[in-house]
């Protein structure tokens, strides 16, 4: 066991040591120039850098496919992660395989790092079926659509794992808007007192549906909120994959070593509307969007890799083709996928179905059979 559950204790930390840095950690310029920082070592070899890049490309391509599928009536709704690929992929990259991720609904990139089949997630948005991926196999929990509650789940999971002597860390993703909910605050209070190995990862994509950050909080930064719970607050340029990776890794390994939870604010930008049902032109300007596009996370790592001759035209083309193939596989799995047997919906409400539910299922079965007969008769 890494540590016991001795509370950190109020008044025992120097508050200044918890404050976020004045400037967000930034290692990679938009043109690909790398500024190393000994406090935040990257430590990824060339092959890993290329893989990181490739994974972001796959994420973006599948994200676009999901939007297309929604536009073609194949998904009820979809929340795009366009522009947030680095924040998601590079942070998830910083975890050990056995660490757990507690995602919100927007975390396609983190899911792809965890080898979750994107189609399994999209089934939820198609309504073909419920969430199909196995959380235990992928260490990737159910997408949380209610805002902020997953911070509590991640904290409880970290506490439980620690009681089991399991040296894992949990990472919970939520948004800038999510920081206004009570749940993450109670989670950070708990995690701080119990010194639970959980990293609270806030993607500050500047908007919560229509509400901009300026109307979401009066805090100097979201990372400052950490101090009130005795957690260190980190801030990074979330469109910089290397800074995101280095900062997350530091927080995760610190937690694993028994030094307790941390809060990370990754600064990014939601390039798409909130979801496919939203019209963002109601509340933000084209100019703002154009400015944000200049900080694109994928272009940045690409520029870096090209500068260092780790990437060439042939590789880029191959990555695009691979991404297109994976997107096609997702499309094939989702397009016109029939929904499951309605009677099966009774199966997973409880471990052992209740007797009165069996009666309700029988009633529904009879009703469906009658309807099928009527339809048959009419045809």
């Amino acid at each position: 066991m890494v540590d016991d559950v001795t509370p950190a204790g109020s008044g025992q930390v120097d508050p200044a040591s918890l404050l976020p840095p004045e400037e967000p950690v930034h290692l990679l310029d938009p043109d690909g120039t790398l500024h190393e920082d000994p406090e935040y070592p990257v430590g990824l070899d060339d092959e890993a850098l290329v893989e990181l890049h490739r994974t972001m490309i796959v994420t973006r391509r599948i994200d676009r496919e999901a939007i297309n599928l929604q536009r073609q009536g194949q998904l009820g709704v979809y929340a795009s992660c366009l522009g947030q690929e680095a924040a998601q992929v590079a942070s998830a990259w910083a975890l050990q395989d056995e660490d757990w991720i507690f995602p919100s609904y927007r975390e396609l990139g983190a899911a792809i790092v965890r080898d979750v089949d994107p189609a399994d997630l999209l089934h939820l948005f198609r309504g073909t079926w419920l969430s199909d991926h196995d959380p235990y196999e992928h260490r990737f929990a159910l997408l949380s659509i209610p805002i902020g509650t997953q911070a509590l789940h991640a904290t409880g999971f970290a506490m439980g794992a620690r009681l089991d002597g399991n040296p894992i860390v949990t990472v919970v993703y939520f948004g800038d808007g999510g920081t206004s909910e009570g749940d993450p605050h109670e989670a950070m209070t708990f995690a701080g007192v119990m010194r639970s190995p959980v990293v609270f990862f806030v993607q500050n994509n500047q908007y919560a549906i229509s509400v901009p950050l300026s109307k979401q909080t009066a805090a100097p930064t979201l990372a400052h909120k950490a101090v009130g719970y005795g957690l260190p607050g980190y801030r990074c340029d979330g469109n910089d994959p290397l800074a995101t990776y280095a900062v997350t890794r530091r927080a995760v390994e610190r937690a694993r070593a028994g030094h307790g939870p941390a809060l990370i604010e990754a600064l990014t930008y939601r390039m798409e509307a909130h979801t496919t049902s939203d019209d963002a032109s109601r509340y933000r300007s084209d100019e703002e969007l154009e400015a944000a596009a200049l900080t694109d996370p994928i272009a940045r790592l690409r520029n870096h890799l090209r500068r260092r001759d780790l990437l060439d035209d042939a590789m880029e083309q191959r990555f695009e083709e691979e991404a297109a193939e994976r997107a096609q596989a997702v499309r094939d799995a989702i397009y016109d996928a029939p929904h499951g047997d309605p009677l099966e919906l009774f199966d997973h409400v409880y471990v052992a179905p209740r007797a009165d539910m069996a009666a309700q299922r029988d009633e529904l079965r009879a009703e469906l059979a009658r309807r099928a007969d009527d339809d048959g008769g009419a045809a």
């Binding site: 229509s210 979401q216 919906l345 009658r370």
Partner: protein, 325 residues
């Protein structure tokens, strides 16, 4: 003169009517102002009444209701929106423990003239955590009034009544009804809480419905007429106060009752109606008191699946036939 408007637009019209009339009416919630509501039910209010009276809030449901409660104690008449009724669970302390108990515990000295509006129910493919019909949760709490209109005219009239009411009112807008249209007369509309309406007279059976189940009950009644069964349809409109007199009078005449609710089976509001009618009308009954409900499972998000689970016109017809035969 009358106008055909949507249930959605009726919400904005009802709020605007009351905000024009009474400067102490304020409105707050998530994405309600600049975006006009995620269901576009509050479009135009920010433009007309300004950012003091129409406020976008952080995503803090407890603070939304807490602020409404505190503001109500100062004499303002806040209207607070909780985007999906499922999220009432995130601020249930305010809904169940604080707001409805304060008047009682202060010996009637502190009133809570506030309204909580929320989008309720299924039918929009939002899945298990965004589709629950939870009006029965609210009904179980002494101190709250509970309203759930089925058509645009009632939305305006009952919303006005709720805002003018000195007690806290939970106002359920059924999200599947937002696009539906209805005739609405010109001018001010103010209705009365706790009065059910009989929207179709009949002599063989009384069908009691609420919100989205009302149009389905009416369709079922029309179908039943085709096979020689005369069904009376009552739109309850409010669960608290509950207009038991209208229901009892009707069942005494028709001698049969079928309730139609979106709630899952256990402890849906229909159970309350059935128990009251069982007690009050027992000697007048000619058939089993029957409830049509959603099965007792969470709703799926798939279109076809969701449709199979919510009470359908077919299921209502079927249930009535069984009761009448």
């Amino acid at each position: 003169m009358a106008e055909l408007i949507t249930y959605r637009d009726a919400v904005a019209r009802g709020l605007a009517q009351e905000m024009r009339r009474d400067p102490s009416v304020h409105f707050l919630g998530e994405d309600v102002a600049a975006a006009g509501g995620v269901f576009k039910a509050t479009k135009g209010l920010l433009e007309e009444f300004g950012p003091q009276r129409v406020r976008d809030t952080p995503i803090s449901e407890e603070a939304i209701l807490g602020a409404a409660m505190g503001a109500a104690m100062t004499g303002l008449k806040p209207v607070a929106e909780i985007m999906f009724s499922d999220f009432l669970a995130t601020c249930w302390d305010l809904v169940a423990v604080e707001i409805p108990k304060t008047r009682y515990m202060t010996d009637g000295q502190v009133t809570m003239p506030l309204v909580i509006r929320t989008a309720n129910g299924g039918g929009l493919r939002f899945g298990a955590q965004h589709s629950q019909a939870v009006e029965n949760w609210a009904m179980a709490i002494p101190g709250l009034k509970v309203v759930a209109p089925s058509n645009p005219k009632d939305v305006i009239g009952l919303l006005a009544a709720a805002i003018r009411d000195p007690d806290p009112v939970l106002f359920f807008e059924q999200k599947s009804l937002y696009p539906s249209k209805g005739e609405v007369p010109d001018g001010e509309i103010v209705d009365e809480l706790g009065v059910a309406t009989t929207i179709r007279s009949g002599s063989d059976v009384t069908i009691v419905a609420l919100a989205s189940m009302v149009p389905r009950a009416v369709d079922a009644a029309e179908e039943l007429e085709g096979i020689g069964i005369s069904a009376e349809v009552i739109d309850l409109r409010c669960l608290v106060p509950l207009d038991t007199a209208t229901v009892i009078e009707s069942v005494k005449r028709t001698s049969r009752l079928v309730t139609v609710e979106e709630n899952p089976r256990l402890c849906g509001w229909g159970a309350e109606i059935v128990s009251i009618v069982g007690e009050e009308c027992f000697w007048h009954l000619d058939g089993p008191l029957t409830r049509v409900t959603t099965p007792h499972i969470p709703l799926p998000s798939a279109d076809a699946l969701e449709d199979e689970f919510l009470p359908s016109v077919d299921r209502i017809v079927e249930a009535v036939q069984k009761v009448v035969q």
